[in-house]
């Protein structure tokens, strides 16, 4: 193997690693379903929402709050209709685009920024550490929704602004967790061993510490995904988030609230979509945590169903 040209070898190993990961995914049935669900969801958000845009926005006042499971109607009405008689299924598909985009970008921004700042706060000088932590304290001491309200009151409500606001309010969570983990890991022997070899701070942070905190961070991120979706819906409910006719799942839940006693399905279906998405992310992150840890990976490699 050592004699073959480097590129071919790299390709081979890459394909081998990819196959091994697929195999490990197939071994954990829950994670497999979760992955399939999320793939379908992303597909729907990318393709389905455009295809159904017209249907989803067409009002039909005769079909107001049409009940679900009326199989005589078009399939698009099987989940019922909303307060303006628009088909719920199509609306959910349409809303998935905004919802996933906002939540995913807010979560990934706060994850990356929080993680980075946390690593710096945990590993470098006291000055930076204090500076970063005090800023985080300021952010945390404000109720995050209040902060969002203030910012969005000054800025025009748009998708980008909402992402920025949600990301900022969630950064301290990642920052504090990352820092706490770094403080523990930096005292471990293998960090000292790397220092003795002459490893730079950069190398120690990114090569030795980061891989160990990533699983924790990803787990928090998936939990946070649901929180961000709901926070976005609260903002939309207050009228400073997403503006109708734009639509998100959270906004759909909020819009269905006046009808909870008479037409539960208005809030139920988008709520279910939120739950299933979070649940899938959770299962997948659980699987990822095991796979990323060489000491636990064998559980997947030998096909053990009960991880943990």
């Amino acid at each position: 193997m050592a004699k073959s040209p480097p590129t071919a070898k790299d390709n081979n190993t890459r394909r081998f690693v990819f196959n091994a990961w697929l195999l490990m995914l197939a071994r954990d049935r829950f994670a497999l379903f979760a992955a399939i669900f999320l793939l379908v969801l992303v597909g729907v958000a990318l393709v389905g929402s455009f295809a159904l845009e017209d249907v989803a926005t067409k009002q039909n006042l005769r079909g107001r709050n049409a009940p679900p499971f009326d199989f005589n109607k078009d399939w698009i009405f099987w989940l019922g209709g909303d307060a303006l008689g628009r088909p719920l299924l199509a609306r959910i598909f349409l809303a998935s685009r905004n919802t996933l985009m906002i939540a995913a970008s807010a979560v990934s921004f706060s994850l990356i920024i929080g993680c980075f700042l946390g690593l710096i706060a945990g590993y470098t000088s006291k000055f930076f550490s204090h500076l970063i932590l005090r800023v985080a304290d300021v952010i945390m001491s404000f109720p995050s929704l209040l902060l969002a309200v203030i910012i969005l009151y000054m800025l025009p409500p748009s998708v980008i602004n909402i992402v920025v606001v949600l990301a900022i309010t969630r950064i301290p969570i990642y920052l504090r967790t990352a820092r706490a983990e770094v403080l523990e890991i930096r005292e471990r022997m293998f960090i000292q061993a790397a220092t003795v070899m002459g490893a730079s701070n950069k190398r120690i942070i990114f090569r030795h510490i980061l891989p160990i905190i990533i699983p924790t961070m990803v787990t928090i991120a998936t939990l946070d995904f649901a929180f961000v979706m709901l926070a976005e819906s609260s903002l939309s409910f207050l009228g400073i988030g997403i503006q109708p006719p734009e639509i998100t799942w959270g906004l759909m839940v909020a819009q269905g609230r006046p009808y909870l006693t008479t037409a539960w399905w208005l809030s139920f279906w988008p709520g279910l979509a939120i739950i299933l998405t979070t649940l899938s992310l959770n299962l997948l992150s659980n699987w990822l945590r095991v796979v990323l840890d060489p000491q636990q990976r064998w559980r997947m490699e030998i096909g053990d169903q009960k991880n943990g």
Binding site: A194, A199, P294
Partner: protein, 542 residues
């Protein structure tokens, strides 16, 4: 046949793991009589602790399962008893002390309260319990028991904590005390005190003592009889002298042969070329002076051992030499440069020449990297040592040099044993072709036979590659076999320094003599003589 106090017959314990069944204990027979001290000797994985846990019903079931055998206490089979009766026997009749007392004492309660609790649970009155607690604390040699009872576990030193634990175990005057590696985590002088205490208490109360240990020295010091275990089986049993002088099983012979402290002394080395010159380094942590003016030289090809108890500053010295900590004053000259004042860039070049092997390899190797990544990391940091296409070949060579198979390059640390891991750590240190290797307790976490292998590997590398070692240890027999020169440290100061032969045979300073007397020899006769000298010294003091 007379009835034994405790009798284990054909005990077999299986652990069901996902990787398959593990036979931890396989047909163990042993018995313990009143007033007897029995030692179970074995290396890690021999099943000695599991056997003791079975007596106290401490095995987690599942995954553990007792598949066969019986344990009789005063003729009653423990396995046939109702759980309530079994609990009653635990603590009241059979008590246990553990290796690490800190994890068995509740950190949020005062220790007096914790001992009283044990007494009250078994029916003592409030006032009675308090008096008894003070009496017990005094008995285990804690000075000022009244104020000690009001302290929390973290306010005690390791040795005192072990005393508290013994007080707790003795609270209900058990018939049997099981001690699982009671002194492994302690300094040599404290170890000797604790073992003395255990033996004295045993004689005073007439209880039976079952000591589980991996250390032949502990066996020689305290036991009447010894049982040698390997792979879940008892392979040999007999009196301590019989086993030591006339071992019949191959494994026992090997174990006794591997015990350090019998080799020839090094004659010192001829070179008088100081490779590393340490002068007057001091280190303060706040007002605490961890190091006070430490000076010594390391010659080319020499092994200097630094011995001392915890808190003596030996590890701090190593950290300063490696610039993991900064000294408050002093200098360390290497190749005519003071490495304590080098800039980061110049330091990087020097780092290659001084490498370190840490105490616990499972801690010092990143668990998420393969052996290949671990060893080749050195070349990522110092790219001029070796071009990338030769890395794999060189790692394989290094593995061979430290006595491991080439196949290990793709393994992760958790897939290797402790001895193998320490070899990997040594290979990693060698990757940069250093001149000096600092070993900080590099063999103290290993089993005796593995320890001997690693020491002989270090010796071989020294000869082949012309390395110099700074060997930090608390275990004197190992030092005796390995070091050319010995530095004895106490409370941040150098007490005595000299050739290994002189330090071990003609120690000048009182502290060195005490240290040597406290260290344990596997030979029961030597140990007996040593114990008597120690006693005399103690009487003389009083």
């Amino acid at each position: 046949m007379a009835e034994h106090l405790l009798e284990i017959k054909d005990l077999a314990v299986v652990f069901h793991t996902i990787a398959g069944q593990v036979q931890a204990v396989n047909g163990v027979n042993l018995h313990l009589d009143k007033g007897e001290v029995l030692a179970i000797l074995g290396e890690s994985g021999s099943g000695k602790s599991v056997t003791a846990s079975a007596v106290l019903n401490l095995i987690d079931m599942p995954p553990g399962e007792i598949t066969a055998g019986e344990i009789r206490f005063k003729g009653e089979n423990l396995f046939d008893m109702p759980p309530a009766r079994r609990r009653d026997i635990n603590g009241k009749n059979i008590a246990m002390i553990f290796q690490d007392p800190l994890s068995y004492l509740n950190p949020v309660y005062r220790i007096g309260w914790q001992i009283e609790e044990a007494l009250k649970v078994h029916g003592a009155k409030e006032k009675e319990a308090r008096l008894e607690t003070l009496r017990l604390l005094e008995k285990v040699g804690i000075t000022e028991p009244i104020s000690a009872a009001r302290k929390y576990p973290h306010q005690f030193s390791g040795g005192q904590r072990q005393r508290v634990m013994i007080a707790m175990a003795l609270a209900l005057r058990p018939d049997i005390l099981i001690a699982d590696e009671p002194t492994t985590a302690l300094d040599v002088t404290v170890q000797a005190q604790i073992l003395d205490l255990l033996v004295n208490l045993q004689k005073e109360t007439g209880m039976a003592l079952l000591i589980i240990t991996h250390d032949l020295g502990v066996v020689a010091e305290v036991a009447n009889r010894v049982i040698v275990m390997q792979n879940g089986k008892v392979i040999e049993a007999g009196s301590v002298r019989d086993i030591y002088f006339k071992p019949s099983h191959k494994y026992t012979k090997q174990l006794i042969k591997a015990a350090p402290g019998k080799g020839k002394f090094s004659l010192g080395i001829s070179s008088s070329n100081p490779l590393l010159s340490v002068s007057k380094i001091s280190k303060n942590y706040g007002v605490f002076r961890a190091l006070k003016d430490i000076s010594f030289d390391l010659m080319e090809g020499e092994t200097v051992a630094i011995v001392g108890e915890s808190g003596s500053g030996k590890s701090t010295t190593a950290k300063i030499l490696l610039r993991l900590e900064n000294a408050n004053s002093g200098s360390v000259f290497y190749q005519n440069q003071d490495i304590l004042t080098l800039s980061d860039q110049d330091l990087l070049k020097k780092r290659r020449d001084i490498q370190m092997v840490f105490q616990d390899p499972s801690q010092s190797l990143n668990p998420r990297m393969t052996v290949l990544q671990l060893i080749s990391e050195a070349w990522v940091i110092h790219p001029d040592v070796l071009p990338k296409n030769k890395w794999l070949r060189r790692v394989e060579d290094l593995l061979e040099q430290v006595g491991l198979e080439k196949e290990y390059v793709r393994r992760f640390p958790h897939q290797l044993s402790g001895g193998q891991l320490q070899r990997i750590a040594i290979a990693r240190a060698l990757a940069l072709e250093p001149k000096i290797i600092i070993c900080d307790e590099a063999v103290s976490a290993l089993d005796v036979s593995v320890q001997a292998q690693v020491i002989s590997l270090l010796k071989k590398l020294k000869k082949d590659l012309g390395l110099s070692y700074i060997f930090i240890a608390h275990d004197l027999p190992v030092v005796r076999d390995f070091a050319d020169r010995v530095i004895v440290m106490k409370e941040g100061q150098i007490i005595e320094t000299g050739l290994a032969k002189d330090i071990f045979l003609k120690p000048q300073k009182k502290y060195t003599q005490e240290l040597l007397l406290a260290s344990l020899e596997p030979d029961p006769d030597v140990q007996l003589a040593r114990r008597n000298t120690r006693k005399k010294l103690l009487e003389y003091k009083i």
